[in-house]
C-alpha cells in the first residue's frame, strides 16, 4: 500500500511553494505598459504598449490607436468628440472614454502618488 508522506513529497511541496511565493513577491507590477479597452462596460481587449508597435483597433465606431508606447482614441462617430480631443494615454491610471459609443480605454496600474480618480 502507498505511504502517506515521503521525502519526495516534501521536496515537491517545498519546490512548488517556494516557486509560488517567489513569483508573487517578485512579480513585476504594472509598469504603465498595459492598456485595456472596455466596450459596454466589459473587457474587450488587452493591449501591451511595451514594444511600441502600431496597432489599430476598431470597435463600436471608435478607432483606437496604440503606438510608440501610447494609446489614444483617433476617431469616433459621436457628436461631441470629447474622446478624440483627449490627451494620448501613457501613464498608469489614465483613461479616455467615449460615452455615446460606450467605449473606454485605460492604462492599468496604480502608483503611490497618483490620484485614485480625477474630478471634473
Amino acid at each position: 500500500m502507498k505511504k502517506l508522506f515521503t521525502k519526495i513529497d516534501l521536496i515537491i511541496i517545498a519546490v512548488v511553494l517556494t516557486l509560488g511565493v517567489a513569483l508573487l513577491l517578485f512579480r513585476p507590477s504594472n509598469n504603465g505598459k498595459t492598456a485595456k479597452i472596455y466596450v459596454d462596460g466589459k473587457e474587450y481587449k488587452t493591449i501591451s504598449l511595451e514594444n511600441n508597435e502600431y496597432l489599430e483597433t476598431k470597435v463600436n465606431n471608435v478607432v483606437i490607436i496604440a503606438e510608440k508606447g501610447e494609446i489614444y482614441i483617433k476617431s469616433s462617430t459621436c457628436p461631441d468628440k470629447i474622446c478624440v480631443g483627449a490627451a494620448h494615454l501613457s501613464k498608469k491610471g489614465q483613461s479616455a472614454v467615449c460615452v455615446p459609443n460606450r467605449v473606454s480605454v485605460e492604462i492599468l496600474g496604480k502608483s503611490e502618488n497618483t490620484p485614485g480618480a480625477v474630478t471634473g
Binding site: V21, A117, T119
Partner: protein
C-alpha cells in the same frame, strides 16, 4: 487516524502560509474595477481588498444603472421622470420620485437660481444639439414653463402643467454616485472609489484617505492641477468647458440661471465641491457656479468645501482645505477664504 496525525502539523503550517500569501495577494492583485453607464456618463466602481469584490462592485454598478434607468433619467422611456414629463401626470406607486423631488427642492430653496424644472431651458437653447440662441419671447416662455407653481405634489400624485418639464441633470450624477457607495456599504465594503463622469465618491475606513485629483479645466479629462486627500465624501464639479456652444463669438455654457432663463456668464470656469452627500455636492457645484464667491457662505452652511477656478487660473478655495489642497501645476494660484 495515524494519517491524520502526520498530516495535521503540515497542514497547519500550510494554512498559515496560505493566509499570509492570500493577504499579500489581495493587496498586490490590486483593485477590482467594474464599468457601466448612467446619467450620460461612464460609471466606474473600484473596490479594494474585499472578499467577493467583483460581485459587490458589479452590484453597485447595476444599482446605479437601475436608479438612472427607472427613476432619474429624462431621456430613457423606462424612467418615471420621463413618463411624468411625457404625460404631465404620474401616480408614484412607492413614492420614491416624490421624495426625491422633495429632496431636490429642499436644496433649490437655498438657491433660487436653480430649479429641477430646467428642461425647457435645455430644449430652447438646444444644448444637446448644436446650440441656438432663442428669442426673448421664447426665453420668456421657458421662464413661464419653469414656474415652480407648475409642479404639484398631492400625496403620491405628481402633476406638471404649463409646459413644465423636469430634469435632474444638476443632481443626478451625485445621487447615482451615492447609490453606488451605499450599495457597497450594505455589502460590507470598507474601501471603494466610484466615479460617475466627473463626480467622485470616496469610501474609506476611519483613518484612511484617498488621493483625488482636481481637474484642470484648461486641459483634457484626466488632467489635474491639484490634489486633495478625502476620507469619505463626494466631489462634484460643474464647469463650462465640456458642454457649450459658441455663436457670434460668444460662448454659452450649459448651466442655466433659472431667474433669467439664460446660461450663466461669469469669470468662473469650474467649481468643485466636496461634501458628504452625493446629491448635495452635485447641487452645490452648480449653485456656486451660478453664485460665485457669494456662494461660499452657503457651502459653509452646508458643511461643504469648495474650489472655484476662474478663467484667469486664479483659484478660490475654502479655508478648511488649506493644508490639504496641494497644487501640482504652477500656473494656478490659490487664495483661501
Amino acid at each position: 487516524m495515524k494519517a491524520v496525525k502526520k498530516v495535521l502539523p503540515i497542514f497547519a503550517v500550510l494554512l498559515v502560509i496560505g493566509i499570509f500569501v492570500y493577504s499579500v495577494a489581495s493587496e498586490k492583485s490590486g483593485d477590482v474595477k467594474k464599468y457601466g453607464f448612467a446619467c450620460g456618463s461612464e460609471v466606474t466602481v473600484s473596490v479594494s481588498g474585499t472578499f467577493k469584490g467583483e460581485e459587490k462592485a458589479q452590484k453597485a454598478i447595476d444599482e446605479s444603472q437601475k436608479l438612472d434607468k427607472l427613476l432619474l433619467s429624462d431621456t430613457l422611456p423606462s424612467s418615471k421622470t420621463y413618463q411624468l414629463n411625457k404625460t404631465g401626470h404620474l401616480l408614484d406607486d412607492n413614492g420614491e420620485l416624490v421624495s426625491y423631488i422633495n429632496e431636490c427642492m429642499a436644496l433649490t430653496e437655498k438657491c433660487p437660481q436653480m430649479t429641477i424644472l430646467s428642461k425647457p431651458f435645455s430644449i430652447a437653447w438646444d444644448i444637446t444639439g448644436n446650440g441656438r440662441v432663442p428669442s426673448k419671447d421664447e426665453i420668456n416662455e421657458t421662464l413661464q414653463n419653469a414656474n415652480p407653481n407648475n409642479l404639484k405634489l398631492n400625496g403620491n400624485e405628481i402633476t406638471l402643467s404649463n409646459g413644465a418639464l423636469i430634469s435632474f441633470g444638476a443632481f443626478g450624477k451625485g445621487t447615482v454616485c451615492e447609490k453606488a457607495i451605499e450599495t457597497l456599504k450594505s455589502e460590507n465594503v470598507k474601501c471603494a472609489l466610484v466615479t460617475v463622469g466627473g463626480t467622485v465618491g470616496v469610501l474609506n475606513s476611519k483613518n484612511n484617505t484617498t488621493l483625488i485629483g482636481v481637474r484642470n479645466p484648461f486641459l483634457s479629462a484626466g488632467e489635474y492641477f491639484a490634489t486633495v486627500e478625502v476620507n469619505n465624501g463626494y466631489l462634484s464639479t460643474s464647469g463650462d468647458y465640456e458642454k457649450f456652444f459658441e455663436k457670434d463669438g460668444k460662448k454659452y455654457c450649459h448651466i442655466f440661471d433659472a431667474t433669467t432663463g439664460c446660461p450663466v456668464e461669469s469669470n468662473i470656469t469650474s467649481v468643485t465641491v466636496i461634501t458628504n452627500s452625493g446629491t448635495a455636492s452635485d447641487f452645490l457645484s452648480t449653485a456656486i457656479f451660478i453664485l460665485g464667491e457669494n456662494g461660499l457662505s452657503l457651502a459653509k452652511e452646508m458643511n461643504a468645501q469648495v474650489i472655484i477656478v476662474n478663467k484667469d487660473k486664479s483659484v478660490i478655495a475654502s479655508k478648511s482645505l488649506e493644508g490639504n489642497l496641494k497644487l501640482t501645476n504652477n500656473d494656478f494660484t490659490v487664495i483661501y477664504k
